[in-house]
Symmetry: C2
Subunit: 170 residues, 2 copies
């Protein structure tokens, strides 16, 4: 049951009520909270909470559980966003392939505006970042890059803090 995503996870596919929302919020705050404790908070039995969590994993609402780590503590002290400009029409498939070759690229996406892609890059230090950049620049299709080094964070780096809010749902 590797990375089993449900075929359908459109907004209205699986019923997603306030209890689910509260359960997700609790698990985003602490993924190791016991089902019993969550149940006590939302008014369900531990078993009922487990059933809902299992269902949300199956439907792809919850994609996993992860420890959040201070990157600097692991030796990643440099962070940057990199705009990538490609030669001619940039084939997204080939572009994605290139991105997978560089473990320092933690996120890559196509965006509006002039750039063909925007990358998030983590490196040990400025020297390492420069080396990564040179490695990216010699890839086929890549014409030029523009880097924005992150100087300091204005908000705590909580994992998807914003998306953990009550959830809008139109």
């Amino acid at each position: 049951m590797a990375a089993g995503y449900s075929a359908r996870m459109t907004p209205t596919s699986a019923p997603f009520d306030d209890l689910d929302r509260k359960i997700v919020t609790a698990l985003m705050a602490n993924a190791r909270t016991s089902f019993a404790e969550i149940g006590a908070a939302v008014g369900l039995s531990a078993t009922a909470v487990k059933r809902r969590v299992d269902r949300m994993r199956e439907t792809g609402v919850i994609t996993g559980f992860s420890a959040t780590v201070e990157p600097a503590a692991l030796g990643w002290r440099t962070e940057a966003y990199v705009e990538v400009y490609c030669e001619g029409a940039a084939p997204p498939r080939r572009l994605a392939e290139v991105m997978r070759n560089h473990p320092e690229i933690t996120a890559a996406m196509t965006v509006t505006g002039g750039a063909d892609a925007l990358l998030h890059v983590r490196a040990r230090d400025v020297e390492h970042f420069e080396e990564v950049l040179e490695r990216i620049r010699v890839e086929p299709f890549i014409r030029k890059t523009i880097s924005y080094m992150v100087l300091s964070h204005l908000l705590p780096e909580s994992p998807e803090a914003g998306a953990s809010q009550p959830a809008p749902e139109a």
Copy 2:
């Protein structure tokens, strides 16, 4: 015990060996893995693993455990990066204060380049995003914004995938 960070978490403060690295890697892959299972994988007893995890939480290496969620499933279908330009000298403290007022801002940082800050924003849809943008624009200090809407992701949105690698450590 709100946000209790240890006084010292400089790179060399707490010994951080290969076992710690393996434990962190395991917990990033699945934050609900039992200490016993991790122990079996790294060659330690469950108790020893727990002690190391507790220590890493105290020293700030591990900042928490979080469920990873598909934002679209929670109703957040629009994502953008926003460059912020301020009037005159932008005071980072006041800027941070402003950022906290908008829950849709999931990350905010100062960066090199012309912009005073770079924001990551999640919204329900384009209409909602426009509303957020207007709300940000009328804040004091804010002179103008430039938005880059995310079109599609080229890599799976794993939580800090890159930083989970073996860890460089100079």
